[in-house]
Amino acid sequence: MLSPMIATCEDTCVDSGSVRKFHDELMNGLHAVAQPLTILRAAMEMLSRSGAPGIDRKHYLEISTEQVVRACDLFSAVQDLVASNVTKAQHASFDLGEVLEPVIEAHAARMQARGVGLAVVRPEPWQKVTGDADRTEQAFRAMLNTALSLASHGDVIEIYTSRAAEFAEITVKHPQRHGKGLNSSDRLSLSLAEVNIVSQLGKYRCAPDPFCCWFALPIEKPVQPERGPFQVN
C-alpha cells in the first residue's frame, strides 16, 4: 500500500530526508488506522456469533458504529497527509479569521460537551496572510483535535494570536502537563498539521507535554501604489 504513495512522494519531495519522513508519517498513520479496524473486526466477529448466548448485540453494534466513524476520520487524515505531501500548496491571500473562526466555533461546542474550557485571544482585526487557506484550516483543526484528545475534564485549551515581524502567529496550547505520550492518532494529526503549514512556506513548532503547537504564516504585504514614470510628487 505504501509503495505507490512513496513513489509519488519521491517525485515531489526535494530530498531523501523528506521521503523518509513521509514514509514514517505514513507508517504511523496506518498504525493509527489499525486500531479502530482491530476493534471493528473483533466486534463484527462477536456480532456474527448471533446464536451464541450472552452476546450483547447492542453493545457490539455501538462499538462498531463508533469505530467505523473513527476509522473513516483516520483514513481521511491519511489521505490528506498524502495529498499535502504530493501536491503543491496554493499561495494566495486570505483572511486568517475567516478560516480559523469557524474551526474555533466548532471546537468550542465539542470542548464544552467534554467539560474542557477554551480561552481565545483574538486579534482585532484578523490579519490577511499569504498561503493556502485549506491547508491552514486543516492544520489548525488537527492541532485543536490533538489538544482536545490530551485534555481532561476541567482543563482549559488556549489559543493565542500575535504578530511578530512579517508573520501572523497562532498558538494552540494545553498548559496542564498531561503526563501521557502522544498516541498514533495524535501523531498522525500533528504530522498533518506540520506538512500543511510547512508546505505553504509557513513555520511550525510543537512540543507534546505540556502540549504547545505554534505556527506562523507570512502576513500579506500591503499593495504599494504604482508610480508611473511621469508621476510628480
Binding site: 453493545h59 481565545v120 483574538r122 510543537c206
Partner: protein, 322 residues
C-alpha cells in the same frame, strides 16, 4: 524571523511580539463534577463506551477457596497458588490469571480489557512504555504481557529489552500494526513469545493467550526443594531431613509461594495477595504472624535456618546465610 521558544506564556501580551488586539473568550464547563475523571478519554473514541459491557458474574477467589487454588504459574514468577484441584472450574482457574495490556490506543486497550475480563482474566491497562516499565519493575506479578510495539516514551522493542532479563519466563504477546515479516521476526528475536498483526481476530487473540498460558503452566514441578526442605504439591506434603512437617492450608500456601521464589525476597504485599487474595494492607501484621508459624515449624531446633527476614520488605527462603 526568530522562532520563539515553546515556553509557557500566561501573559499573552509578552509572548513573542505583541498581541494584535485582545478579546478574551472563556468557555468553561458549568458543572465540573458532572463528568467522571476519565472524561479525557471520552468522546468519539470513548473507552467507556467501548468497555461499557456489563461483565458477567465473576467468581472471586477468596482466602476460603485457596485450598482449592487455581492454576499453576511459572516457578520464577510466583503469581498463583499451586494447582491442586485439577477439577477446578475453568473460570476460576482463569480468574487468577493477571494480564497486563500495554497499548497506546485507549479504545483498543479498553476493548481488549473488557473482552479478557469477560473471559475471567484480571486485567490492567497501561498506555505508555515508561509507565509499563515502572509497573513491571515494581515486582508486579503478571501472568501475561500483551504489548503493542508502537508506544509513546519507550517503544515496545525497547521495553522488551528492558524487562526480559528480569522476567525471562513472562509470556509476552506482541501486537503490531507492522505487517512485514522482518518486523515480526525482530520482535520475536527481541523477546516476544508470540506476535499478532493488527487488525487481528479476537478469537485468534484469545487462542494465543490461552496457548501462551498453557505453554507456561506446566513448569512447576510437583516437588520443590530448598536445602533439605522438600515440598510435594500434589501430596500437600512437606518434609525436612526426613521429618514430616504438618502445616495448615494457609501455612502450606505461604511455604509454597516461598518455595517457588526460593533465593529471592518475597514482599509482604505479594504474600498478602497470593495467599489471602488481598491488596496491599499496611495496617495488618497477618503475614508476619503466619510467617512466624511457618518458621517455627520449618526451622526446627538445631537445624540450619532457611527462612530469613528481609527488613522492611518481607521474607526469603534460602539455604544458607549468604
Amino acid at each position: 524571523m526568530e522562532i520563539p521558544p515553546l515556553c509557557p506564556f500566561h501573559e499573552p501580551e509578552y509572548y513573542h511580539g505583541r498581541c494584535i488586539g485582545k478579546s478574551y473568550l472563556m468557555l468553561l464547563p458549568k458543572n465540573i463534577s458532572l463528568q467522571s475523571s476519565d472524561s479525557n478519554e471520552s468522546g468519539p473514541e470513548s473507552p467507556q463506551a467501548v468497555s461499557g459491557r456489563v461483565s458477567p458474574n465473576v467468581q472471586s477467589v477468596s482466602a476460603s477457596n485457596f485450598e482449592d487454588p487455581g492454576p499453576q504459574a511459572p516457578a520464577d514468577r510466583g503469581k498463583t497458588p499451586p494447582k491442586i484441584n485439577r477439577n477446578a472450574g475453568v473460570s476460576e482457574q482463569r480468574k487468577s490469571r493477571q494480564v497486563l495490556i500495554v497499548e497506546d490506543d485507549v479504545s483498543l486497550a479498553q476493548f481488549l480489557r473488557a473482552e479478557l475480563e469477560h473471559h475471567h482474566f484480571r486485567v490492567e491497562t497501561i498506555h505508555d512504555g515508561a509507565e509499563a516499565a515502572k509497573a513491571l519493575e515494581q515486582n508486579r506479578n503478571y501472568d501475561l504481557l500483551i504489548l503493542d510495539l508502537n508506544l509513546p516514551t519507550v517503544d515496545g522493542i525497547a521495553l522488551m529489552e528492558r524487562i526480559r532479563p528480569h522476567y525471562p519466563r513472562l509470556p509476552l504477546l506482541v501486537l503490531t500494526a507492522r505487517s512485514r515479516v522482518e518486523d515480526r521476526v525482530h520482535a520475536l528475536e527481541r523477546g516476544a513469545d508470540d506476535c499478532l498483526a493488527k487488525p487481528f481476530s479476537l478469537s485468534e487473540l484469545m487462542a494465543r493467550v490461552q496457548a501462551l498460558l498453557r505453554r507456561n503452566s506446566g513448569v512447576i514441578p510437583n516437588c520443590s526443594r530448598v536445602g533439605d526442605l522438600i515440598l510435594l504439591r500434589e501430596e500437600r506434603r512437606v518434609e525436612r531431613n526426613g521429618r514430616r512437617i504438618d502445616l495448615t492450608p494457609r501455612e502450606f500456601a505461604i511455604l509454597e509461594v516461598m518455595m517457588r521464589n526460593a533465593g529471592r525476597p518475597v514482599s509482604r504485599a505479594t504474600l498478602l495477595e497470593e495467599v489471602w487474595n488481598l491488596g496491599a494492607e499496611p495496617s495488618t501484621n497477618i503475614v508476619d504472624v503466619y510467617m512466624k508459624y511457618v518458621r517455627d515449624k520449618v526451622d526446627g531446633p538445631g537445624e540450619r535456618r532457611l527462612t530469613h527476614t528481609i527488613r522492611g520488605f518481607g521474607y526469603e527462603l534460602r539455604d544458607g546465610d549468604a
